[in-house]
Amino acid sequence: MNIKSLSLVNFKNYNSLDVSFSDKINCFTGNNGAGKTNILDAIYYLSFSKSFFSSIDGLNIKHGQDLFVIQGSYIIKDAEENIYCGYEKGKKKKVKRNKKEYERLADHIGLIPLVMITPSDISLIIGGSDERRKFVDGIISQYNRNYLYDLQRYNKALLQRNYLLKEAAKTKSNNDDVIEIYDQQLIETGNRIFEERKKFTDEIIPVFQKYFEHISMGYEKVQLNYSSSLYDKGMKVLLEESKAKDKIARTTTEGIHKDDLELLLGEYLIRKLGSQGQQKSYLIALKLAQFEYIQKICGFKPILLLDDVFDKLDSSRVEQIIELVSQRSFGQIFITDTNSNRINKVLNSVNDNYFHFNVDNAQLTKVYETD
């Protein structure tokens, strides 16, 4: 699967753009603010019907204009597919597949699998545990609606239960009979969520190890664990045992909402000890494991977007990453970088076809194309 061409109207800093892509590697170099990342975001839009960066569609319209249009022509399972995404101020966003508008945007998600890595993703490595739960939940629920439904029910029940715990403390009254109803819902959904998260992490951990070792050329020892108190006890026992503690804390202290991914470098948490280069390598290995997981589920290779990922990485790691993603196991790739020399050097060593574009003030110039 790949995107053959993209056209933009009034999207971010582009007035209009028509560009064709290589089915393998596409590089965009140029200064910050030139519009490299906006091309990647447009491709992201066509997969997820929203921007990677902002959930407000209006912010993506070119300044002073009233609407934007993104169109992409794809080859999916040997058939040509045209995807349209348009937004006009004050109107409903429209997503069309081969000129037919979707009734529900959710129905489009999953047609064009895509994995994007940007510098802001580093919060997955160095941020709080909620970032890592969001990562795991986002991937599983994209292909498992039952999981998403359980997650929504768990979170709602959790809010109600925490509210009841606070009320009981404030009014010094007993509302155990109502708390028990929500316990029941947390038990039912919590156990299932744990099982799905375990299944998912069991699958991506060895893949992650493989990629990290490749990027760091085997010099560093890493370990990724799914940590959850549900390993030892079911949700029912956990809630029973922590009831007294919950009443004092006025909140639910145990459950799958406390799960985390433990990211270790040697024996230490990477967010506390790792260098920027190590943290970035960790992030890239994790995202590539996500890539492989999605590929396995949908049966073909997602599009891979690498936005400015080489910054702060030493040249050997950059070469390892390029070598890795240009292998057969990855499909179409889009790379942005401010450093044109760095890209040229690594591309020269790659035996694969690629397009190299220079981006300057929302103008694209193809500077190189392999034949």
């Binding site: 609606r145 039952n146 029910r153 109600q160 509302n175 009979d177 109502v178 028990e180 109803i181």
Partner: protein, 213 residues
């Protein structure tokens, strides 16, 4: 009265205190803002006196004479509502609904011949509605003091609806009364391929025997 005055009138400075009172009362209604209230009041002012009186009387009479059925909390002018006092309805069936709106919806299907029990809401502590704010005690009394063959829980499939169903289940389980809930599944006339996975999965789990129709 010239329309120019109506549109340029400052609502905070009405020419009459009585007019202001009426506007305030109207604007207490759900979905009615001050501007709409003023428009309605000016309309009433322009109506013949007898029309305005019959409007006011309808409200007073409704408020004074409409009560809630002592058995099921349905709206009635008597002690018992027309459903509870009917002698053609099956008294051993109780259908539990959130409000009168759901009762009306079920009645319009003409498929149900039992009695009702209106809860008066659904449990959501964060919105200030706990189980004690609902008519669950009276439901339990009905189950204990009557011969009840089945209690049908006809609540929404939202989280709040399910919570409420579960609470009622907890309250009634010791009385050994058979409980049932509305079937969840594919809507009539729906294309299978467009049905969402949750509904489709549920429908498959709760599939039923087929005898040719």
């Amino acid at each position: 009265m010239s329309p120019v005055i109506i549109y340029s009138m400052d609502i905070s400075q009405l020419p009459s205190r009585l007019l202001e009172n009426a506007v305030n009362e109207f604007s207490k209604l759900p979905g009615i803002g001050k501007k709409t209230a003023l428009r309605l009041v000016l309309h009433m002012l322009n109506q013949p006196t007898e029309d305005a009186l019959s409007f006011a009387n309808a409200l007073i009479q409704m408020k004074e004479e409409v009560k809630l059925c002592v058995k099921c909390n349905n709206i009635t002018e008597e002690e018992l509502c027309s459903i509870c006092s009917s002698n053609v309805r099956d008294e051993s069936l109780i259908c539990v609904v959130e409000s009168i709106k759901e009762l009306i919806a079920i009645e319009s299907t003409s498929q149900y011949k039992g009695l009702y029990h209106i809860l008066g809401g659904r449990i959501s502590p964060m919105d200030g509605i706990g189980p004690r704010d609902l008519n669950v005690d009276s439901l339990e009394d009905r189950v204990v003091n009557n011969v009840v063959a089945e209690v049908i829980l006809a609540l929404s499939t939202t989280m709040e609806g399910e919570t409420t169903s579960f609470y009622i289940f907890r309250r009634l389980e010791k009385h050994k009364v058979p409980l049932s809930t509305l079937a969840r599944g594919i809507s009539i006339g729906d294309e299978l391929e467009y049905t969402d996975e949750i509904t489709l999965g549920r429908s498959l789990l709760n599939r039923m025997p087929y005898h040719g129709k």
